[in-house]
C-alpha cells in the first residue's frame, strides 16, 4: 500500500518550493519528501511534484531516475548501505557485504520479506579514515566488523535503541528522508562523540607541542 499524497503534503511541498529564488530548485528536496511519505518515488509522487512546480511528470521523472537515492521500489523500514568502493572493500567492506547479504538473504537494492531492511552497495561515504564503513538510514557506522554487523542487525530487529557512531539514534529511512527534504528533526545534538580518527592529528599536535602560527579565531 502506498500512502496517498494528501492536502497537507501538497502544502509542505509548496513550502519547500518557496525557499528558493526559482521554485524548480526545490525538486530534489521535494522528491526526498515524497520518499519520506511514500517510502519510494511513485508515479503519484512524481505527479504531485510536477503539479506543484508546473512541470510535466516526464520532466520530474527524468530527474528522479537520475539520482541513486531515489528508489522506484518500496524501501524497507531501514536502509542499509555497505561501502564497496575500493578502499572500504579492501579493508573488509566486501566481507561485510557478504555477511549482510547472507544474513538477510537479499542482494543489492533488495528488501527482506518482512520489509525491515533494504540492502544496497553504496559508493564512497567520505568516511575513509573509519573504513570499513556502513550506513543505516544514511547514519554512519564506522570501523565495522562482521561481529558488529551481526550485533547491529539483531538490535535493529529487536527494536532496541541503536546509536550511530557519528550520528543520531536510528529510527527509520522515512525519518531520514524528511531531514533531507529540509525539515529539522531536532536531533543535531545526538551523537556527541567525535570519532578518534577526527581527533588523531589534534592529539598528535598536542602531545608534541605543535601549533599553528599565533593568531585569533581558533
Amino acid at each position: 500500500m502506498i500512502a496517498p499524497i494528501t492536502e497537507t503534503d501538497f502544502k509542505q511541498l509548496d513550502q519547500l518550493a518557496k525557499k528558493y529564488p526559482e521554485r524548480r530548485s526545490a525538486l530534489l528536496p521535494m522528491l526526498h519528501y515524497v520518499q519520506s511519505v511514500q517510502g519510494q518515488i511513485s508515479p503519484a509522487g512524481i505527479s504531485a511534484c510536477a503539479n506543484v512546480l508546473d512541470l510535466t511528470p516526464a520532466e520530474v521523472a527524468a530527474v528522479a531516475t537520475f539520482y541513486t537515492m531515489f528508489k522506484r521500489f518500496p524501501l524497507g523500514k531501514h536502509h542499509i548501505g555497505v561501502c564497496t568502493n575500493s578502499l572500504c572493500a579492501i579493508l573488509g567492506g566486501d566481507e561485510l557485504w557478504r555477511e549482510l547479504s547472507e544474513t538477510l538473504g537479499v542482494g543489492h537494492d533488495e528488501t527482506t520479506e518482512d520489509r525491515m531492511f533494504t540492502l544496497e552497495r553504496i559508493e564512497c561515504q567520505a568516511a575513509c579514515t573509519m573504513a570499513p564503513v556502513l550506513t543505516v538510514n544514511w547514519e554512519f557506522f564506522d570501523n565495522m566488523t562482521p561481529n558488529k554487523v551481526r550485533e547491529l542487525i539483531e538490535k535493529l530487529k529487536s527494536g532496541a535503541p541503536v546509536q550511530s557512531t557519528r550520528g543520531a539514534v536510528i529510527t527509520s529511512i522515512a525519518d531520514t528522508e524528511r531531514v533531507l527534504a529540509g525539515f529539522n528533526d531536532g536531533k543535531s545534538e545526538e551523537g556527541e562523540a567525535i570519532d578518534d580518527a577526527m581527533l588523531a592529528g589534534l592529539q598528535v599536535a598536542k602531545a608534541r607541542g605543535m601549533r599553528a602560527p599565533r593568531g585569533e579565531g581558533f
Binding site: E22, L87, I90, C128, T129, A200, A205, E216
Partner: protein, 434 residues
C-alpha cells in the same frame, strides 16, 4: 614543517559544533572585521593570502571571486560545494560535523565580498547528520543576528539555504552541481561561459569547496601574511589532510601545505605493523597513484604535479603489500562507470567497456592485448568529455600500469585473489574465506 591545528583546533572541546563553543574561541570575529571593510578589500586579502581551492583543482580563490562582474544589475550567488564524494576524500564531512560555524561564517564573508544576497550550501544527500549540524549552525547564526537583513547594523543582507543532494558523484563537478541545484539532472555544462559570468539561474556565481570557504574567516581575521607564513610560495597555508587505509592511526591531520607525505605518515603511526607500503594516492581516486619511492614529496600543488600526479583533495589513501592493484583499479573503474552521467559518449561507453575488460583480469583471465586496449580506451576518454569525471576515469589504469605492469600480466593467468588473499588486507581478523 609541523601540524597546524586551526580548523580542527577545537574539535576536542565539548559540543565543538555549537555557536557557543565557536564564539568562545573567537568565532565570527572574522565576519565583524570583514563587514568594516569594503567588499573589494576582503577579496584582496583572500587574493593576497594565496588561498587555493581545496576541492581538487587548486584554483586561486580570491582570483575566482574577482571574476564576478560588479554593478551588472544581476543577482549574484555563492554556492558551496559540500558534495564530498571523491573516493578517498573524507575531510569536508568531518569538518562540517565538528565545526559547521567556520563554514557558515565563511559563507557570510564570501557572500559579502562578491555581493551575493543569497548563498547555497549543497551537501551530498547521504549525510543527514551533517545536514542537521550545518542547518542548525545557520539557524543559530540567524538567531544571533549574523544572517538576515542588515546584519550587524550594516546594509548587507544575506540568506543561506542548506540543500541536500540525492546520491550522484557527478554533482561534485561545479556545473553539474548548478544544474542539480536548479532541480535538474546533474549533468555538466560546457564552459565557457564560466559560472562567474553565467552560473546559477544564468547569474554570476562563485562555487567554492567547503574547506576553502571554512578557511576564509581565519584568513580575514589574521591577514594574508599570517596565512602565507605557512606552506610554500605556490601553495600557501594550511590544509586538512586525511590519511586512510593501512596506517596505524588513520585520521585527519591538519598541517601546513608542503609537509612531506612521509612526515604525515609518521604522525599517523606509519603503515600498519608488520606490513610495508605498496602504493598510495595523494588526493582521491581521480589522481594518479604513487609508490614508496615518492614518500618524501612535499604535499603541495606544484610538487605533486611535478611527480605526475595532483594534490587533489589532499586525502592520501595508503595500501600495503597485501593489496592487489588490479582489484583496486577495477573497483574504481566500476565506480566511474556507475557515476558517469551519460552525457558524453567516450565516458559513458568507455567506462563500461573498461569494467568488462578489467573483470577478466580479476578472474585471472585477462588477455594480453586487452592491456593495450585499456590504454587506448583511457586515452580516448581523457580530454574528450565535458567534465573531469571522464579524465578521472581514464586515470587509475595507466597510472597503475606505470608501476605495476607485472601484476596485470600475472592476472592474465592467475586470479589476483589467489596471490593477494582478500582477508590479509582486512582491518579485522577474518577466518580464511575462499
Amino acid at each position: 614543517m609541523a601540524l597546524t591545528p586551526i580548523l580542527t583546533a577545537n574539535w576536542d572541546k565539548p559540543k565543538s559544533w555549537t555557536f557557543d563553543t565557536y564564539t568562545a574561541t573567537g568565532g565570527y570575529q572574522g565576519l565583524k572585521k570583514a563587514l568594516k571593510m569594503a567588499p573589494d578589500e576582503v577579496i584582496n586579502i583572500v587574493k593576497d593570502s594565496g588561498l587555493r581551492g581545496r576541492g581538487g583543482a587548486g584554483f586561486p580563490t580570491g582570483l575566482k571571486w574577482s571574476f564576478v562582474p560588479q554593478n551588472d544589475g544581476k543577482p549574484h550567488y555563492l554556492v558551496v560545494n559540500a558534495d564530498e564524494s571523491e573516493p578517498g576524500a573524507c575531510k569536508d564531512i568531518p569538518l562540517m560535523l565538528a565545526n559547521p560555524h567556520a563554514l557558515v561564517e565563511g559563507v557570510i564573508i564570501a557572500s559579502y565580498a562578491i555581493r551575493a544576497k543569497e548563498a547555497f550550501i549543497y551537501i551530498r544527500g547521504e549525510v543527514p547528520h551533517v545536514i542537521r549540524r550545518v542547518s542548525d549552525a545557520v539557524e543559530q547564526a540567524k538567531a544571533n543576528g549574523l544572517i538576515g537583513k542588515n546584519i550587524l547594523g550594516t546594509d548587507f543582507s544575506i540568506n543561506i539555504v542548506v540543500h541536500a543532494g540525492a546520491g550522484a558523484y557527478i554533482c561534485g563537478e561545479e556545473t553539474a552541481l548548478l544544474d542539480s541545484l536548479e532541480g535538474r539532472r546533474g549533468q555538466p555544462r560546457l564552459k565557457p561561459p564560466f559560472p562567474a559570468v553565467a552560473g546559477l539561474y544564468a547569474s554570476p556565481t562563485v562555487i567554492n569547496n567547503a574547506e576553502t570557504i571554512a578557511a576564509v574567516p581565519v584568513i580575514v581575521l589574521n591577514g594574508a601574511d599570517w596565512h602565507k607564513s605557512m606552506g610554500t610560495e605556490k601553495s600557501p597555508g594550511f590544509k586538512l589532510f586525511a590519511l586512510s587505509g593501512h596506517v596505524e592511526r588513520p585520521g585527519i591531520y591538519e598541517a601546513a601545505l608542503g609537509t612531506p607525505f612521509s612526515e604525515l605518515l609518521e604522525y599517523a603511526g606509519g603503515v600498519r605493523k608488520g606490513h610495508k607500503l605498496k602504493f598510495w594516492i595523494p588526493g582521491g581516486s581521480s589522481v594518479p597513484m604513487l609508490t614508496p619511492e615518492h614518500v618524501d614529496i612535499p604535499m603541495t600543488y606544484e610538487d605533486l604535479q611535478a611527480a605526475g600526479t595532483m594534490l587533489g583533495t589532499g586525502t592520501p589513501m595508503i595500501f600495503d603489500e597485501t593489496v592487489s592493484v588490479v582489484r583496486a583499479v577495477s573497483r574504481w573503474i566500476e565506480f566511474y562507470k556507475h557515476e558517469s552521467c551519460g552525457k558524453c559518449t567516450p565516458c559513458r561507453e568507455g567506462t563500461g567497456w573498461m569494467v568488462g575488460l578489467l573483470e577478466k583480469f580479476e578472474h585471472g583471465e585477462g588477455k594480453h592485448a586487452d592491456l593495450d586496449l585499456l590504454h587506448d580506451i583511457s586515452a580516448q576518454i581523457a580530454g574528450r568529455s565535458f567534465c573531469a569525471l571522464g579524465d578521472a576515469a581514464a586515470t587509475p589504469f595507466p597510472a597503475a600500469m606505470k608501476y605495476f605492469k607485472d601484476e596485470f600480466e600475472q592476472a592474465e593467468t592467475i586470479a589476483p585473489h589467489t596471490v593477494f588473499p582478500f582477508e590479509k588486507s582486512h582491518k579485522f581478523e577474518t577466518a580464511s574465506v575462499s
